[in-house]
Amino acid sequence: MNQQEALDKVVSILKPFVKNTDALASVAMETSILKDLKVNSARLVDVVLEIEDTFGIEVKDEDADKVKTVGDAVKLILANQ
């Protein structure tokens, strides 16, 4: 899986949880999941679980804590492939 494929999948995972849907139109690696997309903090747990299910990986608490941007999620996924 390349970076673009991972990015597309991460965006599709985030989409149901995004409050600021306008920001989805210009989503990029540096887009902040909480600040820009306004994903609710409670929904972050769902996002982490969806990432685990979609990519068949385990996201440890300490790794999840480092994910602030869409790109951080992409890098985490690629590093665990």
């Binding site: 949880f17 409050k19 600021n20 902040s32 909480l34 600040k35 306004k38 609710n40 903090s41 409670a42 929904r43 972050l44 747990v45 769902d46 982490v48 679980l49 608490d61 300490e62 999840a64 804590d65 994910v67 602030k68």
Partner: protein, 257 residues
């Protein structure tokens, strides 16, 4: 009234948000949020959904205090232990007092504090729906806090404001909210804001000196607004990672309990 140097955190959850309707039925969600003892309590609860989200709100509220103390646990809800009686939250050596407010139908509001006395707090339903304008929710939470604190300290609400200074490393680019009186920070005061779905909420610790300085009768007002302790019955991320100045006493007090 909360004592000087008390630090507060709060979190409100809209229990009717359809997005959380089945979270309590999903084992992996519960395992991600709760420690083993908490999971057992959720399984045996008469209303597992309410208990799960009450504990979630409690952990989020405690997290906000821990950030202010400089010992935030990161993305690790299950490392914060909520007591079975819902009166405290523990993280490593720190114990925070907890108050759960269920006065408003459809909402659970958790308030955590380094202090022993109930902070001033309130939760209100506002006129936008789940998924509505987030900026309006932030404004509504600030307005609620300013009106209630102003009533507590005997000042016009217009004299108060709540601001968040830019903070690069925080989850949303801003540090914890700061209460301003006549444009200046109120020393010893601490405030926390939250909104979720249809609800906005705040918690505030106001030192008695502020009330005295402004000629207020703070105790009278705050006693009405203090959240009730439960009987039988939450911006997870970021914030300041460095310990704010002046909060060493709060940390010592929290560790000593």
């Amino acid at each position: 009234m909360a004592a000087a140097e008390d630090l507060v955190g709060n979190d409100v959850v809209d229990l009717d948000d359809p997005d959380i309707a089945s979270s309590h039925l999903r084992d992996r969600f519960v395992e991600r949020v709760c420690d083993p003892a908490e999971r057992a309590r959720v399984r045996s609860a008469s209303d597992p959904k309410v208990l799960l989200w009450t504990m979630f709100a409690a952990k989020e509220a405690a997290y906000k205090v821990l950030v202010k103390l400089g010992c935030a646990p990161g993305f690790a809800h299950r490392r914060l232990g909520v007591a079975a009686d819902l009166r405290s939250v523990r993280f490593e050596g720190v114990r925070l007092r907890l108050w759960i407010d269920r006065r408003v139908d459809g909402a659970v509001h958790a308030v955590a504090s380094t202090g022993a006395r109930a902070p001033l707090s309130d939760v209100r339903r506002v006129a936008f729906t789940t998924g509505g304008p987030r900026a309006d929710a932030g404004v509504a939470a600030r307005r609620l806090a300013c009106v209630r604190v102003a009533r507590s300290v005997g000042r016009p609400a217009a004299a108060l404001a709540i601001e968040r200074a830019p903070l690069e490393e925080s989850w949303d680019g801003f540090g914890p909210p700061v209460l301003l009186c006549d444009g200046r920070p109120c020393p010893g005061a601490d405030v926390s804001l939250s909104h979720d779905g249809r609800f906005v909420a705040f918690a505030a610790a106001i030192v008695p000196e502020i009330a005295r300085r402004t000629g207020a009768s703070a105790t009278r007002s705050s006693s009405r607004a203090a959240p009730r302790s439960p009987r039988g019955s939450a911006a997870w991320r970021g914030g300041a990672r460095s310990r704010p100045r002046g909060h060493a006493a709060g940390l010592r007090a929290a560790r000593s309990r």
